[in-house]
């Protein structure tokens, strides 16, 4: 579905932030990007979305280079969930969410009643329909993140690209967002997300991509890739992974730091 072939990127030609990355995402995959600050995770996402132009190599969606796909069509294949930001203008939540319908709205038209209904439905699916008429700038961080996910859902794209969906959220909201992402994955969406929490990989993902200094150091299933040694090296800090029992004959792995 998404094939990344040998891409490099740098803002100046002398130093590359991304160095010859290659990987593929299949339909239904939930990929977690792990890596320390400055590893190039967000830069990679921006290259995948076509916001940044890669210096070499190609990003292909369903076999076509993204550079050759018009923005409007590309938005029908992949949707971006940015980190919840503040807005300059006081948009209502519903107005914000219905912006996701843009690739489906005619060239000189505005959103129709159907589009508004789709946006309201997306809000309802995420349990925040009561916020429809609130101002986007006045709802909480967790609610904003949900609204941005709702916006991405209205795009009806199969691939969701999320930039640290749980960043700066309290514990309850983090779990809520993870639950939402898990449900979306079950519904058949493919998801690429960045995270600072290795546990997210165990909770949600079937693939983990580990990045350091602009290169991929490991790519595979969480069990193969998220190990004591790899994480300890990645974050240059001691990390241990334990297997714990959750319910009857069900185990899951957790990752905890070791303080000395």
């Amino acid at each position: 579905m998404l094939a990344v072939d040998n891409i490099s990127f740098g803002y100046s030609s002398s130093s590359d932030l991304l160095k010859s990355l290659s990987f593929a995402v299949n339909k239904g995959d939930v990929v977690c990007l792990l890596g320390p600050n400055g590893a190039g995770k967000t830069t990679l996402l921006r290259c995948l979305l076509g916001i940044l132009k890669t210096r070499t190599g190609s990003v292909r969606v369903k076999g076509r280079k993204i550079g050759a796909i018009p923005a409007r069509e590309l938005a029908g294949y992949m949707a971006y969930v940015p980190q919840a930001t503040t807005m300059v203008f006081p948009h209502r939540v519903l107005d914000m969410v219905v912006m996701g319908r843009t690739p489906h709205i005619g060239f000189t038209a505005g959103p129709s009643d159907d589009d508004l209904a789709i946006a309201t439905e997306a809000l309802a699916k995420l349990g925040i329909v009561h916020l429809a008429d609130c101002l986007f700038s006045q709802i909480s961080g967790g609610e904003r993140q949900l609204a941005l996910i709702a916006r991405a859902l209205t795009q009806r794209a199969e691939l969701l690209i999320m930039d640290e969906p749980t960043s700066s959220l309290d514990y309850g909201n983090q779990v809520r967002i993870l639950q939402v992402i898990d449900n979306l994955a079950e519904q058949g969406y493919s998801i690429i997300m960045t995270s600072h929490f290795p546990n997210h990989a165990f909770l949600l993902c079937n693939k983990v991509l580990i990045m350091k200094n602009g290169t991929i150091t490991a790519f595979g299933s969480p069990d193969e890739v998220v190990t004591d040694s790899i994480l300890s090296e990645l974050y240059t800090t001691r990390v241990r992974i334990f297997e714990i029992e959750v319910g009857k004959s069900k185990t899951m792995k957790v990752c905890i730091p070791v303080l000395v």
Binding site: Y77, F89, A124, Y189
Partner: protein, 376 residues
Amino acid sequence: MANIPMPTRQVDELGAHGSAGGGGALVRLQLEGCEGVRKRKSCVGMLKSSIMLIVLLMVFFGSFLIGRYPVSPDMVVAIIVSKVIALPQVWTDTMETIVLKIRLPRIMAALLVGGALSVSGAAYQNLFRNPLVSPSILGASWGAGFGAVLGMILHLSWIWVEGLAFVCGLVAVFCALTISSYFGNKATISLVLAGIVVSAFFQALVSALKYLADPMNTLPEISFWLMGGLSKVKSQDVICSVLPVIVPIVVLYGLRWKINVLSVGDEEAQTLGINVRRTRLVVLVCATLLAAAATSIGGIIQWVGLLIPHTARMVFGANFTRVLFASLVLGATYLLMMDNLSRSIATLEIQVGILTALIGAPFFVFLLARAKRGWG
């Protein structure tokens, strides 16, 4: 497009009974509740729009009554209607001349200039994602100012002065665009800086021309024009400026949704399916045409293009579709009222630019006070 199927229906259908956690009935109930709220909201919106339009109409007809020569309201209506349907003439020829040849052009000019400045300001503000941007941000006003002053010094006929103002306004913005593209693609900040530079440059040229101007005749004329006013407007000017005002407004209306989406930021807008570069360019050109057209008729009238879009957002919310419409109507009404004041408040006429600045500056303080709670 053909070889790539659109996202599968599976996703949609599964989505319908998805994550809300078995609350299907609850969701439906919430949706219906929301529908009711939305209907009520749209009723309130309709009411506000109607009030706005009625006020505009009242101010429009009321404006014919203001002036030295008294014309009664029924006469005004009769004279205007007689242009559409043949009516027996019960008014004097002087009345007809005053209503149609003197007051009508001026009223139309005020409507056009007010509407154009406000829509231009609204578009620029969304484009730069900055609510403090005014139509003169890229140098259109001072470019046009330079053109007009040059025309006056060369003693060209008034319609050529306006034409020159329009062209120079566009040239100034073109200079700003060229300078900013020379500095690379960090669009917003380099564009604003280039606009400041170009404005300053043309302002200096205006000063140079004023210095050269004949202090007895031309210099006062220039000074009055730079203050901004509509006293010199003839029907010919209005007719010439109708197209440069209407066409950009129609184009902006066509792009209203894209402009709305641009307000979330260029990168997000691109991932939402907007061709950002092309849309920005078209909006920039349209907003500039409006600013140059308005300045060429009315001189440098400040604050209207900054304050009216704010007022529109305060009343109708941030959705650009509504902001565009409300800015047009409110801007036209506001400048017409100001122009009426300017020609009736004292025995001699006060330039309308002075009044808009006198009212605009305190109003801006009010906006700043509100700004703590988010721009709206």
